[in-house]
Structure formats: structure tokens, C-alpha cells
């Protein structure tokens, strides 16, 4: 899960403008609204975006603000119009690689970080096929799904799941494998 804060540049020809990002969670805005915390990654930065994933560590609304700095001059703060809550995160379908090792149907999922789990659905491609489901706790490790029968075709799809925000992605594109050939995206 990655959360990026982005902003428009301050036009200042031939000068390097720096930016500083600060945040406050619901606690700070409720109990001590004057308190803002410097972002872990961007205090300061010369980029136009900031990875605030490590700052957003609770599923509550967070306010963000950014200001420009040029030498001793600093701009006013620009504050995010609406607080951000990580439970509004839109997860993209995970990338996966489906292969057959001998008789074994194997899937390898993209490593999206420690907060991700995956729901893998697989079936033998035939009329009235039964779908099987396997929960994969982390990416980047090949997982054995099924021992295949020669000549049969097997298909796989997967979705990502983040427990911390109670959200899952759409399913990935279906990939099918038959005993003789390579995986065939459908």
C-alpha cells in the first residue's frame, strides 16, 4: 500500500525551490490542532510528491499541508482540501506469474509489502468446473496450487487484500496453463 501526496510547483526560474510536508492525524486535530508533525520523507524535498505511507499508520482521517521554501523565504501553508483516510485506498489488481513445474500448477505473486495478503482462485478449465480458493500470506514466493492432469488446462486469477483497511482489489486478468504450453493470458 503506497500513499503519495502531490502538489503543483511554485514557478521560480533558475532557482531550486524546496518543499516541506507536515501532517496531523485525527487525534492531533481533535486534541491539539496546533500540532503538526514533519513528514518522515519530505521535510524538506525538492520533488513534487511525497510518500506519506509511513506517516499514515492508523485508519483515521489525516490532514496534510505543504509549503515552499526558497532560501530564507517560506510560502504560506497549503492544506489538503479533504482529510485523507487510508480506508479510501483503491487497490490495483496484483501482477502474477502462473507456470507449470512438471505436473504442478504454481503461481508467484507480486510482493506488495507486509500488509498485503492475496486471494488466489484456480480451476480446471472444463464445463461445470469447481473453483478452488487459496489465501497466500505474502508475495514473491512461488506457491503450489494443484497437481495437474496431463492434457488438462488450468486457469488462475488473484486479488490483493489489505486487512488494515478492510479492502481488496479487483481480480487480476485470468491466466491459463495447459500441460504442454506456456501460460496464456485470456
Amino acid at each position: 500500500m503506497k500513499h503519495l501526496l502531490m502538489w503543483n510547483p511554485v514557478a521560480q526560474p533558475r532557482e531550486t525551490v524546496l518543499y516541506s510536508v507536515e501532517y496531523q492525524g485525527e487525534y492531533e486535530s481533535l486534541y491539539m490542532s496546533h500540532i503538526w508533525i514533519p513528514s518522515s520523507q519530505c521535510s524538506p524535498t525538492n520533488g513534487l510528491e511525497c510518500d506519506v505511507t509511513d506517516d499514515v499508520t492508523a485508519t483515521v482521517p489525516y490532514n496534510f499541508r505543504v509549503r515552499a521554501m526558497l532560501g530564507s523565504q517560506t510560502s504560506a501553508w497549503s492544506t489538503l482540501e479533504h482529510p485523507f483516510n487510508r480506508n479510501s485506498t483503491v487497490l490495483v489488481a496484483p501482477r502474477m506469474e502462473v507456470t507449470e513445474h512438471g505436473l504442478h500448477l504454481v503461481v508467484k505473486l507480486e510482493d506488495l509489502g507486509p500488509q498485503f495478503e492475496f486471494l488466489v482462485v484456480y480451476w480446471r478449465k472444463e464445463p461445470g468446473a469447481t473453483e478452488h480458493v487459496k489465501v497466500v500470506k505474502s508475495g514473491n514466493t512461488p506457491v503450489h496450487l494443484e497437481t495437474m492432469e496431463p492434457g488438462a488446462m488450468y486457469c488462475v486469477k488473484a486479488q490483493a487484500w489489505v486487512k488494515a483497511i478492510g479492502r481488496h482489489s479487483t481480480f487480476s486478468q485470468i491466466q491459463c496453463v495447459d500441460m504442454q504450453g506456456e501460460s496464456l493470458p485470456l
Binding site: 496531523q24 499508520t57 483515521v60 486487512k163 488494515a164
Partner: protein
């Protein structure tokens, strides 16, 4: 998710809370000179029934938000401590907002039992010098998290 009896809390990653507290543990507990006193004593947290647990955790977390964190905040000088403190406080707010302790009359004796436990803690807190009590209570967040962990399911 947390399951405090009938109360369920999803979307909180307990390891994130532990990570936040470990980052400040040494700094905070080093400020606590009175090691002979414990606010979250055994009578407060031991043998808590599932039914009581929702009432008790609700009272304890609200106290931490409204009293301990609110007043401890001014002692924080380092940004690193501030970040961990913010992570803990905001996760406590998330938990409290999702807890719905039942107000049914037939739960009265259970809620009163939980309240007696909470009052043991609160009385011990009030009996100490405020500054000392704040440091001690914040330093005992690990005791609180250890107890909460019993109700956490992966």
C-alpha cells in the same frame, strides 16, 4: 481484528501499535523512577471476562486519550517520539470509535464490574503526582497492549 466479547474492531494492525510503542519505550520508561508502583495492576486486568472486556478497554483507552496522551504530549521534544505517540494515539482513537459497548440493562452487573476495575486504575493514577502518573501510565502502554493482545485475532 480485535474481539472484545461482542465488540469487534477491524482495521487495526496490532503490530503497528507495538512498533510505535517500542520506538518510545526506553525513553518513556527511563523517566519513571517509581518502579514499586503499578497503575495497571493485576486486579485491573486479570481474569477479565469477554463480556467485561469491551467496557474495560473502552474506559481505559478513553482515559488514555483524554488524560494521559493529552497531558503527556507537552513533554515530547523529539520528532521521532512525536511520530510514535501520534501513531498510538490515532490507533486508540480508531479503536474507541469502533467499540460499541452494549447499554442493555441485563449487562448492568458486567459493566459495573468492568467499571470497578477501571476505577482501581484511575484511583491509583489520581493518588500520584500528576506528572509522575502521566509518565508511569504512558510507560505502562506495553502492559495494556499485552492484555489487548489476548483479544486480537490475525
Amino acid at each position: 481484528e480485535f474481539r472484545f466479547g461482542p465488540c469487534r474492531v477491524e482495521g487495526v494492525v496490532l503490530p503497528e501499535l507495538w512498533e510505535a510503542f517500542w520506538a518510545v519505550k526506553n525513553t518513556v520508561q527511563a523517566q519513571d523512577d517509581i518502579t514499586s508502583v503499578r497503575l495497571l495492576k493485576a486486579q485491573v486486568l486479570q481474569n477479565v471476562s469477554d463480556a467485561e472486556s469491551c467496557y474495560l478497554v473502552h474506559s481505559l483507552l478513553k482515559f488514555y486519550l483524554n488524560t494521559v496522551f493529552k497531558n503527556y504530549h507537552s513533554k515530547i521534544a523529539k520528532v521521532k517520539i512525536l511520530k510514535s505517540f501520534s501513531s498510538l494515539a490515532n490507533n486508540f482513537i480508531d479503536i474507541v470509535s469502533k467499540l460499541q459497548p452494549s447499554k442493555d440493562k441485563d449487562m448492568l452487573s458486567i459493566s459495573e464490574s468492568a467499571h470497578r476495575r477501571f476505577m482501581l486504575f484511575r484511583r491509583a493514577f489520581k493518588q500520584m503526582d500528576t506528572e509522575v502518573a502521566l509518565v508511569k501510565a504512558f510507560g505502562e502502554v506495553d502492559i495494556l497492549l499485552t492484555w489487548m493482545q489476548k483479544f486480537y485475532q490475525l
